[in-house]
Symmetry: C2
Subunit: 211 residues, 2 copies
């Protein structure tokens, strides 16, 4: 059992929170606005401020909008010290249609920016290359899928790999690309997502390495 904070309260956060609670983890949701009603919040999940959620956790999932994450997480830099930060977000400037347009950090990646801004935190990038429904339910796909993992800290990647298995990812589907710089490739894949959705509809998918 891990003490997990999930920052954000969108579809990504609710999918991950629901699945991680089912696996017996203690899950706290950290949000900016605690007054909003969120139907998917069920016992024993707790909803509190971002700072308080981080303080009570060993592993923190970043499910805030990626283009806002650097500012929001830098604001809780001290609370995040010594913890694992699992960044599942995508930092993109959205087009008029609300879909991802260009990368917020071309030539770099949000994963790298977070690790540089939070040197006492162990950042692991993963789960950002699929429809949110697949993150906690890879078995919903009929063909084998890949989940990429990038990070500078082997112990943190081992912990995250365990959590990925709790979410249904088999060891063979988890591809450790290397250090946090390798987040660039998977983060750039978001550029294909609006076109994938336009071509295929909102059907579940995961960008994958066929081998």
């Amino acid at each position: 059992m891990s003490r997990i904070a999930i920052l954000g309260a969108g579809r990504v956060a609710s999918s991950l929170a629901t699945a991680l609670v089912e696996q017996g983890h203690q899950v706290t949701i950290g949000v900016r606005d605690q007054t909003r009603t969120r139907d998917w919040l069920v016992e024993p999940m707790v909803c509190t401020s971002i700072g308080e959620a981080v303080v009570g956790a060993d592993v923190v999932f970043n499910a805030t909008p990626g283009e806002t994450s650097l500012e929001r997480l830098s604001a809780v830099r001290e609370e995040l010290a010594g913890k694992i930060l699992v960044d599942v977000s995508n930092a993109v400037e959205r087009g008029l249609n609300g879909l991802p347009g260009t990368l917020t950090y071309p030539g770099s990646s949000l994963g790298e920016m977070l690790q540089a801004a939070l040197p006492d935190t162990k950042v692991v990038k993963t789960l950002n290359t699929m429809l949110f429904t697949v993150m906690a339910n890879p078995g919903s796909l009929s063909t084998p899928a890949t989940v990429f993992v990038s990070g500078d800290h082997a112990d943190a990647k081992a912990t995250v790999t365990g959590l990925l298995q709790d979410l249904g990812w088999t060891p063979g589907s988890i591809l450790d690309l290397g250090d946090i710089r390798t987040a660039r490739g998977p983060e750039a894949m978001i550029l294909a997502v609006p076109d994938l959705i336009a071509a295929r509809g909102l059907a579940p998918f995961a960008i994958t390495v066929a081998s």
Copy 2:
């Protein structure tokens, strides 16, 4: 039977040329330096200049290094008028290790740049998201693979789809993303390739949409 020109004489060009000849197509190789020995050139392939190869073809494959392609192909703009240009290349600035570093056209794509520079040519982007060995041999993979197709011209995409099937791609593996602007997503995937090769070795792969 199509009259096909393949521009370039590297591993991509030789793989495609060999497979397309086997499928009964007439293949001409267009190169800058015709004096170099190329062991893989077999009858009835012909090797000539880029301009001459284009003139005698209906479909032209661009397998020159992507970062040089805009200049090389603009030089034969008139010869390319009215033809289909299948761009299978990746335009990247290479790092010290010779592997792709950053995109040559961030915020755009080589496919779009070529279509803009060659308005009388029908540009189709495809096959740029896999190890070269897979382009003409998708059956070498043990899991289902995707080949992306982007282009503004439906008739050209239909022709290219037929050639992809000649190369072994099943109809279900061919994913038409839309117009040439949609080349941005697949082109950005090249950023993951050096890390994939570092993590997995030179094993065949294709970046794919698991569904």
